[in-house]
Assembly symmetry: C2
Homo-oligomer: 474 residues x 2
């Protein structure tokens, strides 16, 4: 049995989660001895080796300890405090964006090899299905060499579009492959969407905080950002959005409804439905970034906003960068009623997307490898996220507020008010730890004592030690 | 010996060219018997098989015929008339572009499998080095699987940038790899260049006629095109350009100085130098599209405009789509003094270009395969171009004017004034032949009795027959 055997991996992670929950709920009280390995093995009908691995995870997470010749005991673990940050309070007026220089210098700095990447929204190589993807790519290169002689259709490879249409059904949206256009990643999808629905100097409503890439794209297109107050766990506030669209002229709204970057927030279904409906009535296109939607800790995954779209007013954007490979550069877009505009702009942007990565991904999806690996990755992130929150509650000041993501690998922290996150960032870099300061996620310079953390690339003892150092710096 | 053996291929093509020249120059007069196969074999020190293949080419081209038991005789070939079209006469005022719909419908129509593609600017699969490229790609996929875990640097793969810097030296421009940014093809390079130097409603000076892709990009960016009179063989007129930049506010100038699309024109060195200098003095950035520059019939290839750039005012754009593979989607840009703007816009457009195609191309260039294959391709296009011109002089009305390209595979025809090229296009489609009507190459609706032809995808008997049909339609 190895760590990479997906079924076994599922078993011991699942068991560890169950046991953690039992401890958190007091089924096994602090100081109490846990059932014997054999007992658990029989109760859960799993092998002894699986139980040992599960207990080892609990030990790593600081929930239990082994006492020689006696068994495993529940430690006085610091009860996790779900200290949820409040609704954000941006100024609701259009703002010119200028996070460019800071963002680029931080991005380049954080790329350095020697850093512990606790802030980057990039998954670890070992979680991605790179080995099987490369084999597929190599096979495609050998078999499909003649396809290199032509530009791929600007809509993208037909088989890949079919596979993506099937994938869309998992988010509750049933469609034909004709609705899908392949892009060079989600950021290209967002560019195409924004350029198809808005002009320079137009106002774009966004979550606050939101992914700095969205802010930067709005900036390079000469548009203005309007930040809407956002709940750290439930996403944009529909009431405030409704009032705002009545008062202000807004050309589009860009949201990450499922497991947002940086909050990890997920809008409840009824909020998604309401936002889709109110924007449709106001004739304001909704651009949905669903790049993390597939990494839900629960199955089925939450519905996409697109699944509530009846008029083609929702432009859906996503990519395989967080689930299969960032370097492959394949994303997609369902432009709804803006399909002609998006298709034309895609064609004139770079004609089409590279042909072999598309054929290979289509095969990869067809063989069920995408689903299998994404579920496995979500389980790993779930476990890591629980550890991450535990260590934060252990090492950070008591008044630290943290979000409660139910998918993805990103977490948002509101640190004590006197903390300067940019200073913290620089001090952490000196200790070889990279985090992402909150100021990047607002066009208004909000979130100066906030940081984004990620469990995508770091785990275990390295994560624990780094968080301990970070906590001390705060 | 097979057609694909490059050395043998070179030999018989070279020999056929030498013999054609001898016939055109009257060394072998009309009606005269050519030297025996054995005689030529000894004179040129090549195999008999090579001589037979060369003679076969001359037969196909209509220069000679075989008479049973007697030998090969020079036919009464129609002397090629270099009827050069005059300087173009566009109206020199900024124009909103709207070729979109026509262009897209023609592009889709011309893609149909069953058509003889006499208009498309796409090279034939057999001329491209697809087999060796695919082998390289397959090897890269196997060996570099971990590189899929990260976004490639937004500048592009370092090895590929080094190889491109070496390639740039062949166009007379010596640079370091730091000047190069990798893109998803030349059209993306042009987009980045235009967006970095101009804003919506700004005026862009262009050659007239010019590649419709350039017109469409100008259109999607909301800019306006200013068409400058252009010599069909020597490119844009420097005198008129100089006068124009003094009178009008121009934000940038986009040129294809070497083997332009659609004319096949090549600006003489002194014109390139003068245009670079006059635009530099007027502080108007020159965007150079050099996608056909490497396909020169003569060596060394003509210098790029960039080679005369002393201040970084020239933004150089190119790609491997015409020489290695269109489906691979790899191009590059040297943004000169606009490097920061271009790099930022590339990053925010799609973060970076797909990683494996870049690594594979770098290996491909490093092993000298690019140079070898591009030279071979240029020889093939040269021979085909001569045949194409010969058949046009044979089958088209006597007052047809044609350009004299010295590189690439595109040719421009001015048909008799009463010809409607769009009607001709539709009639040709009925006969399963696709050509490109001239009206696409102007923002003003110029060139209504002009067409672009290509010898990139069709040759031999099929080309001859199709041109005969086309000539009859005219």
């Amino acid at each position: 049995m190895t760590m990479t055997d997906p079924i076994q991996c599922y078993l011991y992670e699942q068991l560890a989660q169950d046991l953690t929950q039992s401890i958190q709920e007091g089924v096994y009280a602090i100081g109490q001895r846990l059932p014997s390995l054999r007992n658990i093995s029989e109760t859960y009908a799993v092998s002894l080796a699986t139980v040992i691995q599960s207990y080892s995870l609990l030990e790593q997470a600081g929930y239990i300890e082994a006492r020689p010749k006696s068994g495993y005991y529940v430690l006085p673990w610091k009860k996790f405090q779900p200290n949820e940050p409040p609704l954000t309070q941006p100024v609701i007026k259009p703002t010119n964006v200028s996070v460019a220089q800071l963002a680029m210098s931080l991005i380049h700095e954080a790329r350095q090899q020697h850093l512990v990447k606790l802030g980057a929204a990039v998954p670890e190589a070992d979680i991605l299905p790179l080995a099987s993807l490369s084999r597929t790519l190599a096979g495609v290169s050998r078999r499909h060499w003649r396809s290199l002689a032509n530009y791929e259709n600007e809509n993208g490879n037909e088989n890949l579009r079919k596979q993506i249409a099937r994938l869309m059904a998992e988010s509750g949206y049933r469609c034909k492959s004709e609705e899908v256009i392949i892009t060079n990643g989600c950021l290209e999808s967002l560019n195409l969407a924004l350029r198809s629905v808005a002009k320079p100097s137009d106002t774009i409503a966004i979550e606050s905080p939101t992914y700095f890439g969205i802010l930067q794209v709005i900036e390079t297109l000469g548009m203005r950002a309007l930040e809407i107050p956002t709940h750290p766990n439930y996403g944009i506030d529909p009431d405030i959005l409704q009032k705002t669209v009545k008062k202000q002229k807004i050309s589009a709204c860009v949201l990450i409804p499922s497991f947002s970057n940086p909050l990890g927030a997920c809008m409840p279904d009824k909020n998604k439905q309401r936002v889709v409906s109110l924007l449709e009535q106001a004739a304001i296109p909704l651009i949905e970034d669903d790049i993390y939607g597939g990494l839900s800790y629960e199955t089925p995954r939450p519905k996409s906003a697109k699944s509530y779209d009846k008029s083609g007013n929702v432009i859906y954007c996503s990519s395989f960068s967080k689930t299969v490979s960032p370097g492959l550069r394949i994303g997609w877009i369902l432009p709804g009623r803006f399909t002609e505009q998006v298709r034309y702009k895609k064609f004139l942007g770079n004609i089409s997307t590279s042909v072999h990565p598309q054929i290979a991904l289509a095969e990869f999806l067809e063989r069920g490898l995408y689903r299998k690996n994404t579920r496995r990755a979500a389980r790993i992130y779930h476990r890591r996220m629980e550890q991450l929150k535990h260590w934060i509650s252990e090492y950070f000041p008591a008044d630290t507020l943290i979000t409660q993501p139910r998918g993805g690998f990103l977490l948002w922290l509101e640190l004590p008010k006197n903390t300067n996150a940019l200073t913290l960032y620089r001090n952490a870099i000196d200790k070889r730890i990279a985090i992402t300061p909150g100021i990047l996620f607002s066009a208004q310079g909000q979130y100066q004592h906030h940081i984004r953390l990620s469990c995508g690339a770091v785990e275990g003892e390295l994560a624990r030690k780094s968080l301990k150092i970070l906590g001390a710096l705060v």
